[in-house]
């Protein structure tokens, strides 16, 4: 038998797995239910769905429970599960102009058609640690819900599609932003079906960004915001809400079937103006970011990076497609990072051999 004892190896692995489970449960508090995670840890569930590339709050919450709340580990579980699922059909492009709005703001204009909707956000809260939450009881919870719902205006239906006009469309009418490029008849790239080759088209870039790790895209977008390839961004519009997902009707040509809806965060970044090639007058430039769920920091970062990666004269890290896209996938990056814990006895022996040879030659 192998002398890095195989039996020992198997037992050690199994014991390590048992210990990991024990560590999650040893405190003896009531087990977290998947429902609790889905309902009370929305931003985490959304982040895992986005980075895992699978829209399923239940599976995301389950992964979070299994990963003891580690978002990268949970995203990895979700992606590994996702790759066992059969792809049934491609959906039609979602109509984001008909988003059922939960939150919609613009930092470009004080008032916008359709109105600013603050919705749910922690943006305007004072970040004072709320000790009353430590004592939160079911009664307190029910009372808070009752009180809030009693104050609602029942005439308003928040889930009604808004049919609003997007801020960028207003700017487009005034020719202040570039026209929408003609729709391409080419099939969009699918980053889950083929490996990305560079330069990657925009559909592939936006897909990779949508699955990217929040911290990773934030760091690179922030590097641009601080000055490494600054684009002077303004949040033209940020939307959070639900959009319907439709597929082509199986036999009725031109008709669509609605399968359900997903929640999205979308951002249009209006950035520094440029004179496009062959154009007489300058326009603002645009960046677009979109991800599953409610994750504004990620969506804004994606909008900034979508724009930086289209800089006509790239020089900063955030303007380099390969740099941005190949280094922000949390599942890939964390996998490679942790692989350094694997035995490197042979490769390190090869290093030692060379180093000793070169030192021997010196001495």
């Amino acid at each position: 038998m192998g002398y890095v004892a195989v039996q020992g190896g198997i037992t050690a692995i199994e014991n390590s797995q048992k210990l990991n489970r024990y560590r999650r449960l040893q405190g003896q508090s009531a087990p977290l239910s998947v429902n609790q995670i889905m309902e009370q840890m929305g931003p985490l569930v959304d982040r895992v769905m986005s980075e895992g590339g699978l829209y399923s709050p239940f599976h995301a919450a389950l992964a979070i429970k299994q990963a003891s709340g580690d978002p990268i580990e949970a995203s990895f579980l979700l992606r590994a599960y996702r790759s066992t699922l059969r792809r049934l059909v491609d959906s039609l492009p979602v109509r984001n102009g008909e988003m059922r709005i939960l939150r919609r703001i613009s930092s470009a204009f004080k008032t916008i058609p359709g109105g600013q909707v603050l919705g749910s956000t922690s943006d305007y809260e004072q970040r004072i640690l709320d000790f009353s939450l430590a004592e939160e009881t079911a009664e307190v919870q029910q009372e808070a819900v009752r009180e809030f719902e009693a104050g609602l205006d029942n005439a308003a239906d928040p889930l009604k599609p808004a049919h609003f006009r997007k801020v960028v469309d207003m700017l487009r009418d005034q020719k202040l932003v570039p026209p929408v490029p003609p729709a391409s008849s080419a099939e969009p790239t699918d980053i889950t079906q083929e490996s990305a080759t560079f330069p990657l088209d925009r559909s592939g870039r936006l897909q990779m960004l949508a699955r990217a790790e929040t911290g990773g895209v934030l760091a690179l977008a922030y590097s641009s915001m601080r000055g490494y390839g600054s684009i002077h961004p303004t949040v033209g519009e940020l939307r959070v809400g639900r959009v319907s997902v439709q597929i082509p009707h199986p036999w009725r040509k031109g008709a669509a079937v609605t399968l359900g809806s997903v929640s999205l965060t979308e951002v249009e970044i209006v950035a520094s103006f440029q004179r496009a090639e062959g154009e007489e007058k300058p326009t603002f430039t645009l960046g677009y970011g979109s991800c599953f769920g409610h994750n504004e920091v990620k969506a804004i970062s994606l909008g900034v990076l979508d724009r930086t990666m289209r800089s006509p004269t790239p020089h900063a890290p955030a303007e380099d497609q390969e740099f941005v896209l190949l280094h922000t996938d949390g599942v890939e990056a964390s996998g490679f990072c942790s692989h350094f814990k694997l035995p490197h006895y042979v490769t390190f022996q090869a290093d030692l051999d060379r180093l000793r040879a070169q030192r021997g030659a010196e001495e």
């Binding site: 038998m1 192998g2 002398y3 890095v4 004892a5 195989v6 020992g8 190896g9 198997i10 050690a12 692995i13 990895f76 992606r79 590994a80 996702r82 790759s83 066992t84 059969r86 049934l88 889950t192 079906q193 083929e194 490996s195 990305a196 080759t197 560079f198 330069p199 390969e322 190949l326 599942v331 890939e332 964390s334 996998g335 490679f336 990072c337 942790s338 692989h339 694997l342 035995p343 490197h344 006895y345 042979v346 490769t347 022996q349 090869a350 290093d351 030692l352 051999d353 060379r354 040879a357 070169q358 030659a361 010196e362």
Partner: protein, 298 residues
């Protein structure tokens, strides 16, 4: 096609043979055929996520999963050892999803997946070696951009690689590259040989067996077909050398002329050497194969 066919089959639902579905296997095999036709050329493939972490052998695993059949005999090693934690883990996954027979004796294996070592006993033409690769691009050493390295390969523009080796010699007296030493394959592409130690490169050259290399995270496969030349980059007056184990032998089986790992006694701190290829070492101790008495090569 009915909805029933499309959906997982309720209670009885099981994963496909060798876990990944047949469509993915086909795609990997197509990429492998291209890789065999263009020795040393990196062929992109989709590389979906597996239940094993990126960087932990997902490339080699997908190659193995695409090739394995019920009658295969499988050997999985990690840095030479069958018992290493990750080898144990990958073996467990493959056995659970295929039910194939496994072995520690490299001579019995039809399919051998390895991280960074080839067995000391050269493989035969009826065996396939699958190597896990972390970083498939040898030119990454001199050029970070994928667009640029692909151009360099397609134009055979390896000048910067040669210059970097020359500068290394000037600054350090010899070439500092250790494992994964760049090789010219079939007089054409420069390839990163997994990171095998330099010791194993002669085992790749003009070999009887097929070697397939899979990089899952980087989404590339490449191959060294049997009887293909694999030439480590060298200068006429600065020949390639393998690791120097002169005067050392394995503390377990007494062999010299194998790749030796340096180990330190847990209590005394005394250094000794043991064969990196645990399967080989065990067979020598059992008397199944003769002790190796002198340098096999190098």
């Amino acid at each position: 096609m009915t909805l029933k066919e499309l959906l997982p089959q309720g209670k009885g639902f099981r994963y496909n043979f060798a876990f990944i579905d047949e469509g993915v296997k086909k795609e990997v095999r197509r990429a492998l055929l291209k890789a065999v036709a263009l020795p040393g050329h990196q062929v992109p493939f989709a590389s979906p996520e597996l239940p094993i972490a990126r960087g932990w052998g997902t490339g080699g695993l997908q190659v193995t999963m695409s090739l394995i059949g019920p009658k295969d005999v499988l050997k999985i090693i990690d840095q030479g050892c069958d018992g290493s934690v990750n080898a144990v883990n990958l073996r467990k996954l493959l056995v659970a999803t295929t039910g194939v027979r496994t072995t520690f004796d490299s001579r019995e294996a039809t399919l051998l997946q390895s991280r960074h070592r080839l067995p000391e006993v050269p493989l035969r033409s009826d065996q396939i070696a699958v190597l896990q690769v972390p970083l498939p691009e040898p030119l990454r050493l001199v050029e970070p951009s994928e667009v640029e390295t692909r151009r360099m390969h397609s134009e055979g523009d390896y000048a910067r690689m040669w210059v970097s080796l020359y500068e290394d010699v000037v600054q350090n007296g010899s070439i500092s590259l250790t494992s994964g030493y760049p090789c010219r394959v079939h007089d054409s592409y420069i390839m990163s040989p997994s990171p095998l130690p330099r010791w194993d490169l002669p085992l790749l050259h003009d070999a009887e067996h097929l070697t397939l290399l899979g990089a899952g995270r980087e989404k590339r496969v490449y191959a060294v077909p049997p009887h293909t030349s694999v030439q480590p980059l060298e200068f006429d007056d600065m020949p390639f050398t393998v690791e120097n184990f002169f005067g050392m032998c394995c503390a377990r089986c007494g062999s010299s002329g194998t790749f030796l790992d340096e180990i330190y006694d847990e209590t005394t701190g005394q250094a000794s050497r043991v064969c990196s290829d645990s399967g080989f070492c065990d067979l020598v101790r059992e008397g199944a194969i003769p002790r190796r008495g002198r340098l096999a090569h190098g």
